[in-house]
Every structure is written in structure tokens, then in C-alpha cells.
């Protein structure tokens, strides 16, 4: 799950949330983006930018984050998803926004 390698399986939201769970974290925020009719949102993502966003989320918000995406999803299916957990809800939302920005840029 941590490799970033394609696995030919649909994005598993339960597994994504599980990957950021921590007993010291009281909030988890997740954003799920579905492919629009014009195909907007698919394609490549910058792994370096994503890793930088994870590190930033950990440093600034004490958050743990994970992301999943599909290369060419059919309309209506999940294009990308981001989950972030932190001790408190504000930090979890902030971390989620930060990673979403990196993923959707």
C-alpha cells in the first residue's frame, strides 16, 4: 500500500482511512473526487510534490496523510482520494486540504 505502484484494483476508501489511523488522533478528514463527465481530474500526479505535502502535513499539523488515485477512471468513478488524521479536527482538515492541493495541482 505504501509503494505508489498501480495495483489494478479500485480505490479502497476503507483501506485509505485505515492507513492514517492512530489512537492519538481524534479526527480524520477524507476528500473523494469523482471523475466528471469531461474526464477532468485523471492523469499523472507528481510523487515528489505529494511526498513533500505529506512531510509538510506531519510537520505543521502533526498529521498523517495518504492519497490514492486512478490514471484514467471512467466517468463517475473515483479519480483521487486523500485522507488525513490528526489530534484535532482543524488540523485534520488543514492537512487534507494541503495534500489535495498537491494532488490536484
Amino acid at each position: 500500500m505504501s509503494t505508489g505502484e498501480p495495483d489494478d484494483l479500485p480505490i479502497d476508501l476503507a483501506a485509505l482511512m485505515a492507513s492514517v489511523a492512530d489512537p492519538a488522533h481524534g479526527g480524520t478528514a477524507m476528500l473523494v473526487h469523482h471523475c466528471e463527465a469531461d474526464g477532468n481530474g485523471g492523469g499523472n500526479h507528481d510523487a515528489a510534490a505529494l511526498d513533500a505535502a505529506f512531510a509538510d502535513a506531519a510537520t505543521r499539523f502533526g498529521a498523517r496523510a495518504a492519497a490514492a488515485w486512478s490514471d484514467a477512471p471512467p466517468t463517475g468513478s473515483i479519480t483521487y482520494a486523500v485522507a488525513a488524521s490528526a489530534a484535532h479536527r482543524a488540523e485534520a482538515f488543514a492537512a487534507c486540504r494541503l495534500v489535495v492541493a498537491a494532488l490536484s495541482a
Partner: protein
């Protein structure tokens, strides 16, 4: 970056130094028909409810997914955490003024729907919730990522302010203490 058409990728950030990995979530998302509140009269019990059973955040999420006009969905899950730095909590016992709590939760969904052009749903636990288990879940589908996250965060903030739910903290040392909110 590995790339293969139609492939799904997952990337997980390093845990902060204090983090301990634990698996809490099971099940899969079952997209519903977008039954949440979107500025129309809906069955409140379908979009805002209390439950004494374990919360499934993806069930709450599934209630707002399915509207093609709203491509982004945000979900927030509040979890009972082990606040060991202060006094170790083992269980939170939630009590709610049931009728009023569900009405207020439905009203928050309605307000968020209007404010953010969103479809919204939420659920709150009652009874004993051990550390690591969800106590509240809120979900919003909106036309964009920011709107979905803004709507979801706005809803959770309003739950904390307005919904008549109280929690009895049960500590590892045997002590207890009441407080309000999720």
C-alpha cells in the same frame, strides 16, 4: 511515478514520530442515491441520526454520493482518542437528548446544504465508545473539493456548538468526568 492506464495507486505518508499504526476501518463504500439533504424536504432519520451501534463512516459517506453534479465528497470522522498526556481515557459514554439532537443535526445538514450547495448527512454515537472507535461522522458532497471540505468542517463545528450530546469520560484510573460535545 509508476504509470499504467486504469491502474490505481496509493501512497501513504510517513507517520509522525508519535504515531502508532492501528487498523480501525473495515468495509467498502457502497454509494447510495444521494439521499442527503440538499435544500429539500428529506426524511431526517435518513440523513441525521443517533446510533448506539458502531458507526460506519463509509455508510454516512455513501448517503451523499451519487449526485453527478457534485464531484467532490468530504467526510470527517471524530474518534475517541487516548489522551494519555493529560489523563488516560479508556471509554467515552455518550448521552443525547435524542429528539432534539437529531432535529438539530438535520437542521445543520439543511443549513450546510443551502450555504455550500451540498448534499449532507451525519451520524452520532450514543452509549459507550472505546478508544479508537468513531463517535461522530459527517459527509458532504459538493461541486468542488474546497466546497466539500468547507461544508464538512462547518457542519462538524456546528455539531460541537449546537447538538445536545454529553459525554462521560471514563479514565484508566477509575475516575469519571462529564463534558459536552463529541
Amino acid at each position: 511515478m509508476p504509470h499504467r492506464r486504469d491502474g490505481a495507486h496509493t501512497r501513504v505518508g510517513e507517520a509522525p514520530a508519535c504515531a502508532r499504526e492501528v487498523r480501525l476501518w473495515t468495509g467498502c463504500l457502497s454509494p447510495g442515491s444521494g439521499r442527503g439533504y440538499a435544500g429539500r424536504i428529506a426524511d431526517d432519520a435518513d440523513i441525521a441520526w443517533l446510533t448506539a451501534h458502531p458507526l460506519d463512516a463509509l455508510d454516512v459517506l455513501g448517503r451523499v454520493v451519487g449526485d453527478g453534479a457534485r464531484s467532490a465528497t468530504a467526510v470527517f470522522v471524530g474518534t475517541v482518542r487516548a489522551d494519555a498526556d493529560v489523563r488516560e481515557v479508556v471509554v467515552l459514554d455518550y448521552e443525547a437528548y435524542a429528539g432534539m439532537a437529531e432535529r438539530e443535526m438535520a437542521a445543520i445538514c439543511a443549513e450546510a446544504a443551502e450555504r455550500f450547495d451540498a448534499v449532507c448527512a451525519m451520524a452520532h454515537r450514543t452509549g459507550a465508545v472505546p478508544v479508537g472507535q468513531p463517535s461522530v461522522a459527517a459527509a458532504c458532497a459538493a461541486p468542488g473539493d474546497e466546497a466539500a471540505l468547507d461544508a464538512c468542517e462547518w457542519m462538524v463545528d456546528r455539531v460541537k456548538e449546537r447538538v445536545p450530546v454529553w459525554k462521560l469520560q471514563r479514565f484508566a484510573d477509575g475516575g469519571t468526568e462529564w463534558s459536552q460535545g463529541a
